[in-house]
Symmetry: C2
Subunit: 437 residues, 2 copies
């Protein structure tokens, strides 16, 4: 399954490795963060469970192999390669940081060590699955930080890049600190709290707004959130207030939230509904949330959609997946790339997180602090169940809490120190001089 | 299937419509473009086949229904609603513009007419599937325009927001004018030309670059594209030139493409390989392609990844899905939303595309030019097979060719005129005054 969900060049290289007698060569590939996304001080890593599922089920169907065989690129490839694909399974090792770990530019996220073809094919899927979910988890962490304790709900599936991205994005947003999601499938699949009551169409389907509000209360009881901006927000607030409980509260979805929330609060309070809450949604992001919080707008919770589900201000993360070692019949060769604007560093690595800095070292080095990369799959088998989503969410919260306050702020600041160990630096210059680069 | 892949409020509203005796009320919902994405003069509509599949298979499994039933929001909902979900199918109508049609702000993309619950639930999926693919198809059209006849390949699955988004994005990119994709699954599923040869890891897996190039040629023959920037681009070009054919050519993946392409062209030509081509990839978008084309850089084709697969400069499209009509036992009520910054217009509509403008009219009006919205599903059944991807791609090319040249350029310019018919304007003001808004 999923064997074809990769760039064709991974498969032409697979044929090339096969035809060049490299099937048994063991390669180590490293997925690392080259640059943080724009306007980000950190990345909250997410998507490890999805790539574990992928690696454990990776295979090719007979129809998929027949498709490849008919492509012009495979015209000269021997039949033995297609037999090889037929029996293909991932038999290698995966080392990764735990889901929810905060990382920085220049750090490895995961390492794959496997026969070279098995390590090569996953590149495309791994990059896409992990960078996307990491972008969303990181954006969610920023929105949650800005909300300063008020719950932030993820509402963005309709703006996500496919409905499936919305569902995985909802998971990542929860991991990054959101209190829940509007995506029902994400609730069902991942056990995330789900929230939602009614849209404008509900109100529009009744001849008058009061009627719509009354009918909603009858169905949803204390879960009721009246959406009050279909026609006129303050009029809507008065109608909701006149009806009274049961209700959770009201939702503002357009207009100037600072002014409207104060006016609506006054309307609710005057009618005696001091316990009714106000939620705001519509064109929110971490900057607007921060401004509303600091102006003291009486908003109890925020719904963030578009900007969160697309990581709108930073939809791209510069991550790479590069070969760092090759083991040819027991002889190890270190590999790297030294072209002008895109460099990669040789050798399998480990990150040691100390109190005030990270040290990127060679794998097997002794270091101070927490060793972040841990074995997940060995010899094609998951060595123990992955931590659950709640545990990953807790790790993200803890990782963020351990950062210096300036790094948790929305503005880009002095980066967390990431240095290379002396042994790693020695390997880099050694490899460089061996390559004559 | 897919019943839960929606925002929870669609399902709480469904319960509300059911409990309020509205199951038989027929609603018309309209999906329309509120604003074009940033920096765009048009939108190439894509994703209709995906939403047809969705509507034709939409249902709820017993487990999904049990999950809903246990949510606090459904605590007061009667058992009859869950029986209703068990038998739920889409039995309504879908009208849409043909895949590949170019549209503008203020225009409806599709209309759903169905019992209100059946029309409400699809909102989330429809918006996500169509806006994403439309963003990618539109970006691809811009890249293709900028390349002025040189083929543009889509290379971006690794940067897409999930691997599945990469696959659907590859389809949309092809529809928008790309010559093919690197995504093998997209080739298999949709019959799109696929392309790819080797990455840096291929070169790095051999002790020297020449050896890597030689082995690649042996496997790929005339499909060979040597990636020449692993260590030093010009040295790489010399090594490829020294080997000679068979090869398609070489690929530049970093550095200053304008300078490097001229130097590499000279190296290839001096060695007598005047037929060998040069492809460029890496950090490209429509603006860089335009600059390279206008400077006369000898680049034969472009590979665009990150920016295309994410619509990086415009990852969001302001589309809405709003109730426009409600039919209660044969009495038609028109619905609209008139809050300050988010307005929707009442009534089912049609677009007439005339020589120099579009007229948005009421459905059933007589108009001049091509009527763009056509029936696709009637009474829950597909009325005829959808046009294939090649036909949609042809329609996109034709739609773009019919635009005034200024609108096809990269800069934002005077919009294509979209006006509302007199009848539609009358309905808008009538509805507004009925609502007292």
């Amino acid at each position: 399954m999923n064997g074809l969900l990769t760039d064709l060049y991974e498969l032409t290289m697979a044929a090339g490795y096969f035809e060049s007698g490299k099937v048994a060569e063991k390669a180590t590939f490293e997925f690392s963060i080259r640059h943080l996304p724009d306007r980000r001080n950190y990345a909250v890593i997410a998507g490890i469970p999805q790539i574990v599922d992928y690696l454990l089920t990776l295979s090719f169907t007979a129809e998929e192999i027949a498709y490849l065989r008919a492509l012009p690129q495979f015209a000269q490839v021997s039949p033995a390669f297609f037999d090889y694909l037929h029996d293909f399974r991932f038999t290698g090792d995966l080392f990764a940081v735990p889901e929810g770990t905060v990382l920085f530019a220049g750090e490895p996220v995961l390492t794959i060590r496997a026969p070279v073809i098995e390590a090569q094919i996953p590149e495309t899927y791994l990059l896409s699955a992990v960078t996307f979910q990491t972008l969303i988890a990181s954006k969610a962490a920023r929105c949650t930080t800005a909300a300063a304790g008020r719950p932030v709900m993820e509402f963005g599936t309709r703006r996500a890049h496919t409905p499936e991205a919305g569902t995985l994005g909802a998971r990542a947003a929860y991991l990054g600190g959101c209190a829940g999601t509007s995506n029902t499938l994400a609730g069902y699949r991942y056990g995330i709290p789900v929230m939602g009551t009614a849209a404008h169409s509900w109100v529009m389907s009744f001849p008058c707004e009061t009627d719509a509000f009354r009918k909603l209360q009858r169905v949803l009881g204390p879960s009721t959130v009246h959406l009050i901006d279909t026609y006129d927000t303050l009029e809507g607030a008065r109608r909701a207030a006149a009806l009274g409980g049961p209700m959770w509260g009201v939702r503002l979805d357009s207009g100037d939230f600072d002014t409207l929330s104060r006016q609506v609060r006054a309307i609710l309070d005057e009618a005696g509904h001091t316990g009714a809450k106000i939620m705001a949604s519509g064109n929110l992001d971490e900057y607007r949330i921060r401004d509303l919080v600091s102006s003291g707008a009486p908003i109890d919770s925020f719904g963030v959609g578009t900007q969160l589900a697309t990581s709108g201000d930073a939809p791209i993360m510069g991550a790479i997946y590069k070969m760092v070692e090759l083991d040819i019949s027991g002889i190890k060769r270190f590999t790297a790339k030294y072209s002008e604007d895109k460099t990669s560093f040789p050798g399998a690595k480990q990150i040691f997180r100390d109190v005030a800095r990270d040290v990127v070292a060679r794998a097997g080095e002794c270091g101070k602090g927490e060793a972040l990369l841990r074995p997940i799959i060995l010899g094609g088998r998951l060595i123990e169940p992955l931590p659950g989503l709640e545990q990953a969410r807790e790790r993200a919260a803890q990782s963020l809490a351990n950062l210096p306050p300036a790094l948790r702020q929305l503005e880009v600041t002095e980066p967390w120190p990431v240095i290379q160990s002396r042994e790693l630096r020695a390997l880099i210059s050694q490899t460089r001089s061996n390559l004559g680069a």
